[in-house]
Symmetry: C2
Subunit: 105 residues, 2 copies
């Protein structure tokens, strides 16, 4: 289970990745774990929150757009994106958003 | 299971609500359903995506900040927010973000 990410004061960026999986694993869990570790080592990475309940939602947080662009262009990540489109996901949506306000308890 | 929301071309707004529930229902499921219906009837509502797997993530989409503010100030929603803090959630975070780019398949 992932935790609520402790993010700094806004502004920062959120990448909202919403997906519907195909049946079967086909190396997905392995790759998801590798991508999580790889993302966590990237410059500008702030944290990630994830849940799947039929629909999967993964929100990763980044300091700025440049960090988001670097992560998107990472060679191993590009390969994962290709496999995602070809094998793992029936559909997905990526939304890049600038967090302007945050509160909670 | 909720579907991937078909959102219009950016910009629009995302409200990322991340939460950890306390044990027990205490009217939560009922209220969650009522809030979903109420949100869907609000001006500027574009859709909602939701999943819980220990951590709960609900992302609602709105045309603009004014629509987000109206929803936050809705009387029934304010009561739900109070009950959320007092009963249902061990912790939560609300992030208001401007979606700048979107892609997928």
């Amino acid at each position: 289970m992932s935790d609520i990410t402790l993010t700094p004061a806004p502004p920062y960026y959120a990448v909202i990745f919403t997906s519907i999986r195909n049946e079967g694993d086909y190396g997905y869990e392995d790759m998801a774990m590798r991508m999580l570790k790889l993302a966590a080592g990237q410059a500008g990475f702030l944290g990630v929150e994830s849940a799947r309940e039929g629909l999967g939602i993964t929100v990763s947080y980044w300091t700025d757009l440049q960090a988001v662009a670097h992560w998107k262009a990472d060679v191993a990540h590009i390969e994962a994106q290709r496999l995602g489109r070809e094998q793992w996901y029936a559909a997905y949506r990526v939304r890049i958003a600038r967090v302007e306000r945050e509160y909670g308890f």
